[in-house]
């Protein structure tokens, strides 16, 4: 006989009890393992999605509006010896079935063979032919497309010339392609390709790069490069150097012209204006190059004579060297004759510029004529005219269509004659400084740079320029997209942690169950323990025996629990792909089991169980075995009276406190007072416990220990163990309160969406366009553009936002985002409106002027930014006051400081900066794509319909701002539903534990029950007494918890009564009540079975 044998005997003999214990551990471990494996599976699925999205792409370059020759990819491939694919990307909308089905936010990619070298999927047939398209599964599903179906795509015909540029300001130019779907490209063939990080599949159309780029211009252009790295030999620096080594002036959008018969070479930009980087490179090295800034003025007038639409050039001229007069001007003889002016006379220009609000405004400037030169003198040169689309190539002035308003009626016959003879030869020359002052803009200060032939040759100019230009300034910033995606998925929402939290009550319920089962099993064996003690077993040895048994039980439970955990994982993943899809917005998550995770979960379950056993064992062993037999006495009358008074005080104090809290907050306070009502609910719970104490003591007090009836008899045991009874009521009530209050506190309707301080900012609609709208819709220009009928002219405000695409940082994205979408807007408008509320501010941010914190001095390096507090905390993993780095259009890193965090708002997922800062960062991003619309009054739906009509070609989507906000809440609501479901499961599991406790009590009282039978109580009467006794605890716990939960849920009830989960709450309450009653009845039956009187006779 050895201890091990004894342990073995015990394990076999008490196998039923141990099986119950192992089942409890199985559940606890299963929940743990399930949560952890769900976490792993989600991470794996996100990583898998990210890798499928990118295929074998490791690095990428996205130059946006900077177009380059697609041959750059070939040059890079030769240099780097890795696959490099050129792409042309634009946004747009897709229509099928003759426009019946349509969707916006579609990515259109022009691709070549090289694209398929980056995939390993089954589709390897190369790019689609002309007129064909490949679509991804998401788009095919959205538009019900299949191979052979027709598809129309409408997209922004991006131009190298930014639409906001003066002289060519125009509407967003769109083009359409009619295509036939060749095939639906699977995600494993990069059908879901995107540089954006998200678990949600994009909507993609792939067309031939050649066909697509033909619509953008004569050259085969691209704006995206994808790099593979099959041998893992690259790094971003190496790719960046390679670009710098092989790119050309054309790739930078620059043209060096050798003009026949001229004494200079001329450098021009596809972007019309030459920016400061190119200017610095061109002027370096003392090559005596000259800057040219030519501008189209609306009119030149002197007195009552006027010449319309003329080019004026700012260029160096001996006159300005001699007379340093900013108001001096040299005009040609044609203009002098037309205006009847000569040297010494004054004349004025009127010209358009774009103001800070992106509005086209006319300005004027006055000059004094210094010199009149013949139009054919050579000073005035037709090559000085910039290449303005819609103007330069026209035969007649009347065909001009530059995009900005031109009154063609003003053009006279002599103007046509001038155009026919001299084309865009400038009629006047001003000093370069004056030209820069008048017409310099964010896109550059020059329209051309001239290099004297005598001192330069084209090759040396090219070499010098390429040596001094940084590819990053033209958008050639290399992004390690694969690493970014992997990091984003690895650091994304931790579902393991999340589900551990959400399943807290299940774990707690399982632990409670195993704790109680263990105590029960030990108590069943107290005689055995007493024998060990009497036989001289040390406490340590007894504990060793029991603990070793427990360890083996825990081990078997946790091993089986690991298997159960995998089943739970499958359930959860299936639920996340179906009923709980609101939390993740996608489906198709794959189960991924890591041995390490399984081991961690199993060991955690084991440790948890062993610790629970150890705690129960220590508590048990501290008790005197002899005293375990003794039941606590009923409270003395004097104590009962004191406890009764205490109960009354707790009851009244709790209710009073709750009433005060509710009155302070007011019933109409809505969700803002959710915390206060939660506190009031808590006080109601405490008050309920006080009432129970009062009720129990009242029974004793009334009876005075002299009266007896069924009720008193039933209550006496509850009273005898009044501490245990109140604990049971408190535990049950508290858990119900927490589960229902938290779980049912869902946002399905907003308190007061019209309130400007709410998450909608008081706006009625949130609208987005796939293609940018060039007009600021608050401008006069826009009024004309919108042309709203009087009945709809009640629009009080439209806030327009510029958009720099980035990743969605809202709760809808499960990845950790580092480059969110950036919105540029006018913060003054939101400040004046008093829109939105802030959850967090830096110390330097004035709470009353938080929006104005977005404004900055021009010298300030750090750009202030605002985002939703949830985006800051969870999407970006930052705090208010932190900075984050974004790359501006020139490829430079810029620091953005988070000056404030918004309360939950429609802006979730975006980073907000001022429009001014936005233009500094991304000068080429033209127009507006996000709009907040305040219809303020009736006719909201009519307005939405009208806007849809106007913007139908822009891929316009408009929906109520409140609905957008509720979309974010849906994620939270789903999590709360999961919490409530799992909480209810935990409660039911906990009720098993309570049933064990009940059975234990009943067996302890078997003698007492036998006595009742001996005294002539019928079986059903004994059952009745027990049902009253435990039913009281059950109903008291349930009632208290539900009442407290109801009070705490008042804000949810008032704001969204129709969505409050009444049915779920009733089901939970009913299931718990029935479950409890069944357990009580079952325990009573077990305790009363057999010949009880025989036991009594034996005693």
């Amino acid at each position: 006989m050895h201890t091990a044998r004894l342990i073995f005997r015990n394990l076999v003999f008490f196998r039923r009890t141990h099986a119950g214990l192992a089942a409890g551990i199985l559940i606890a471990t299963g929940v743990l393992v399930g949560a952890l494996v769900v976490g792993d599976s989600m991470r794996y699925s996100l990583t898998h999605t990210a890798l499928r999205r990118l295929g074998r792409t490791v690095y990428a370059v996205d130059t946006g509006r900077h177009f380059f020759s697609s041959s750059l990819a070939d040059r890079l491939e030769t240099r780097l010896r890795v696959p490099v694919a050129p792409m042309l990307h634009s946004h747009g909308l897709a229509l099928s079935r003759g426009g019946e089905n349509g969707t916006a936010q579609v990515n259109i990619y022009g691709i070549t063979d090289a694209f398929f070298r980056l995939t390993s999927g089954p589709y390897q047939e190369g790019p689609p032919s002309s007129g064909e398209a490949l679509v991804n599964a998401a788009l095919a599903e959205r538009l019900a497309l299949k191979p052979g179906d027709g598809l129309i795509i409408r997209f922004e015909k991006k131009s190298a010339v930014p639409p906001d540029i003066p002289l060519i300001r125009h509407e967003t130019e769109t083009a359409a392609l009619r295509l036939t779907v060749k095939t639906v490209l699977g995600s494993d063939s990069m059908g879901d390709f995107s540089l954006r990080i998200s678990q949600i599949s994009p909507l993609n159309v792939f067309v031939s790069l050649k066909d697509f780029s033909n619509l953008f211009g004569p050259d085969s252009t691209a704006n995206m490069l994808l790099f593979g790295d099959p041998d893992n030999t690259m790094d971003p620096g190496r790719v960046q150097s390679a670009i710098a080594g092989v790119w050309t002036l054309r790739d930078a959008g620059l043209r060096l012209a050798v003009l026949p018969g001229r004494s200079f070479y001329e450098l021009k930009s596809d972007r019309l204006f030459i920016d400061s980087d190119v200017m610095a490179a061109a002027f370096s090295g003392g090559n005596r190059s000259t800057g040219v800034l030519s501008y189209l003025v609306n009119r030149i007038y002197a007195g009552n004579r006027e010449t319309p639409y003329s080019f004026v050039t700012g260029i160096s001229h001996p006159f300005f060297t001699e007379y340093r007069d900013e108001k001096g001007i040299v005009i040609n003889s044609w203009l002098a004759q037309d205006l009847h002016v000569g040297p010494g006379d004054s004349l004025h220009f009127a010209y358009f510029v774009i103001d800070e609000n992106n509005n086209l405004v006319e300005k004027e400037f006055g000059f004094r004529i210094g010199l009149v030169e013949p139009v054919s003198s050579g000073v005035f040169d037709s090559s000085l005219m910039p290449d303005i689309p819609g103007l330069s190539e026209t035969e007649n002035c009347r065909d001009w269509d530059p995009g900005f308003p031109i009154d063609l009626k003003k053009i006279r016959k002599k103007d046509e004659a001038y155009w026919d003879r001299y084309r865009g030869t400038p009629k006047a020359i001003v000093s370069p400084e004056t030209a820069r002052k008048l017409w310099g803009n964010r896109f550059g200060d020059l329209t051309a740079i001239r290099f004297p032939r005598s001192m330069n040759d084209p090759d040396s100019i090219r070499v010098r320029l390429m040596r001094n230009l940084r590819p990053e300034s033209f958008g050639f910033s290399v992004r390690p997209v694969q690493n970014e995606a992997l990091r984003a998925s690895a650091q994304g929402v931790d579902f393991g942690e999340l589900f551990l939290g959400l399943s807290f009550f299940v774990t707690a319920g399982a632990l409670l169950l195993i704790g109680l089962l263990f105590v029960f099993s030990i108590e069943q064996r107290k005689e055995e323990i007493g024998l060990y003690m009497a036989s001289g077993f040390s406490r340590f040895m007894i504990m060793k025996i029991l603990w070793t048994e427990a360890f083996f039980i825990a081990l078997s439970g946790s091993i089986l629990g690991s298997g159960f955990g995998l089943i739970i994982t499958r359930w959860v993943l299936e639920a996340l792909g179906s009923v709980w899809q609101g939390a993740v917005r996608t489906s198709g998550f794959k189960m991924h089991v890591r041995t390490a995770t399984l081991a961690v979960g199993m060991v955690s379950g084991l440790v948890m169980a062993v610790l629970t056993f150890a705690a129960a064992l220590i508590i048990m062993m501290r008790r005197n075995v002899i005293r375990l037999q003794q039941a606590p006495p009923l409270p003395e009358p004097v104590h009962a009276a004191r406890l009764l008074r205490t109960g009354v005080v707790i009851f009244i104090a709790g209710l009073t406190g709750a009433a005060v809290l509710i009155m302070t907050a007011g019933f109409d306070a809505g969700r803002r007072a959710a915390g206060t009502f939660m506190g009031a609910g808590g006080l109601v719970l405490v008050s309920g416990i006080g009432l129970c104490l009062f009720t129990m003591m009242r029974v004793i007090h009334l009876s005075g220990f002299r009266r007896i009836d069924f009720w008193i008899l039933a209550m006496q045991n509850s009273v005898r163990r009044w501490g245990r009874s109140l604990t049971a009521i408190g535990l049950l009530g508290g858990t119900i309160f927490l589960v229902i209050t938290v779980g049912a506190n869902q946002n399905h309707e907003l308190d007061n969406p019209e309130n400007r301080r709410s998450g909608t900012g008081g706006f009625d609609f949130w609208a987005e366009t796939a293609l940018p709208v060039q007009h600021n819709l608050n401008s006069r220009e826009a009024e004309r553009f919108l042309g709203l009928p009087d009945s709809l002219a009640r629009i009080s405000q439209i806030i327009c936002c510029r958009v720099h695409d980035g990743d969605d940082a809202s709760c809808l994205n499960l990845n950790r985002i580092s480059l969110p979408r950036i919105l540029g807007l006018d913060p003054v408008l939101l400040h004046e409106r008093g829109a939105f509320s802030f959850a967090g501010l830096t110390d330097q941010t004035d709470p009353d002027h938080a929006w104005l914190s977005l404004e900055r001095d021009s010298v300030q390096d750090v750009i202030p930014a605002i985002a939703d507090q949830t985006v800051i905390l969870w999407g970006l993993g930052k705090q208010v006051g932190d900075t984050l780095i974004v790359i501006n259009e020139r490829g430079d890193p810029v620091h953005l400081k988070l000056t404030a965090g918004l309360e939950n708002s429609v802006f979730q997922g975006n980073l907000i900066i001022s429009e001014k800062s936005f233009i500094d960062l991304f000068p080429s991003v033209a127009g507006y794509r996000v709009f907040l619309v305040d219809a303020s009054g009736s006719g909201r739906s009519a307005l939405a319909g009208y806007l849809k009509q106007i913007f139908r070609d822009y891929g316009f989507s408009i929906f109520p701002a409140a609905k957008r906000l509720l979309l974010f809440y849906e994620v939270e609501n789903t999590y709360l539903t999961i919490f409530m479901t799992l909480g209810a499961l935990g409660l039911i599991l906990g009720s098993f534990g309570m049933a064990v406790l009940l059975l234990r009590n009943m067996l302890e009282r078997r003698g007492e029950l036998a006595l009742l039978r001996a005294l002539g109580f019928e079986y059903k009467e004994v059952v009745r007494i027990i049902m009253i006794e435990y039913g009281f605890l059950l109903v008291a716990g349930l009632g208290t918890g539900l009442a407290a939960a109801l009070i705490a849920s008042v804000p949810s009830l008032i704001t969204s009564l129709t969505h409050w989960p009444v049915r779920s709450v009733l089901i939970i309450g009913f299931v718990l009540l029935v479950n409890g009653l069944i357990w009580i009845y079952a325990a009573t039956r077990i305790a009363l079975r057999g010949d009880m009187l025989a036991g009594l006779r034996l005693e």
Binding site: R9, E527, S535, S538, M541, I626
Partner: protein, 225 residues
């Protein structure tokens, strides 16, 4: 014969509901010499079992001293007290408290587990079981034994560590008269053959009559009959 166990002025009281105390034992003194067979009688609730529990160090007195071979057991730490019980005392309870999961032989050997069980001890257990007529039932489970057999196993179990004192708390309380008589004879033989001192708490005058000395516990005080 030297004094083996000596209880001096033992008092034991419990707190009562109204804030007072309930005195169970008052200045109880008792000397047990080697080979003594002492019986203690008294009405229910008189404190007999309490006295036996105190003598067996299962319970502590409110005041008074317990000396074993003139060594005060109050000086012993918990662990030493446990070891003392294991080496010097044996217990027989009214209910046998046999472990249902263990065989007869295994039940007997349980008190030997703390010190370790060897074949010599197993042989001794078999000898003792043979002595009480259970040598044919060594590997039976307790569930298959009669009440008397179970109680005999309990007695053998109490003897396995060759205790100097055997404490028996109403060992025949749950047995019929014939079986009880045979149990009394067995205890007497153990006392005689092994020289084991015996303190027996009983309601049975017949059983008490087998002892050398009989005490009566009345209202917390002990009187020699």
């Amino acid at each position: 014969m030297g004094v083996l166990l000596e209880l001096k002025d033992i008092c034991k009281s419990y707190p009562s509901g109204a804030g007072g105390t309930l005195s169970v034992l008052q200045d109880v003194s008792l000397s047990v010499e080697q080979g003594d067979f002492i019986s203690i009688m008294g009405p229910s609730g008189s404190g007999k079992s309490t006295l036996l529990n105190i003598a067996g160090t299962l319970d502590a007195p409110t005041s008074g001293r317990i000396l074993f071979r003139e060594k005060d057991l109050a000086d012993l730490k918990q662990k030493e007290r446990t070891r003392f019980r294991n080496r010097h005392l044996g217990f027989v309870f009214q209910l046998h408290h046999l472990l249902p999961q263990c065989t007869v032989l295994e039940n007997v050997l349980i008190p030997a587990l703390p010190a370790g069980v060897d074949s010599r001890l197993t042989d001794y257990a078999c000898h003792l079981l043979e002595r009480v007529g259970l040598d044919q039932r060594l590997h039976e489970m307790p569930g298959h034994l009669s009440g008397g057999e179970r109680q005999r196993v309990a007695v053998v179990r109490a003897l396995i560590n060759r205790p100097e004192i055997l404490l028996a708390d109403e060992p025949t309380g749950s047995l019929d008269q014939n079986t009880a008589s045979r149990m009394g004879v067995l205890l007497q033989e153990i006392n005689r053959d092994y020289g084991t001192s015996l303190i027996l708490v009983t309601h049975s005058p017949e059983l008490a009559g087998l002892a050398n000395r009989t005490y009566r516990l009345h209202e917390g005080t002990l009187h020699l009959s």
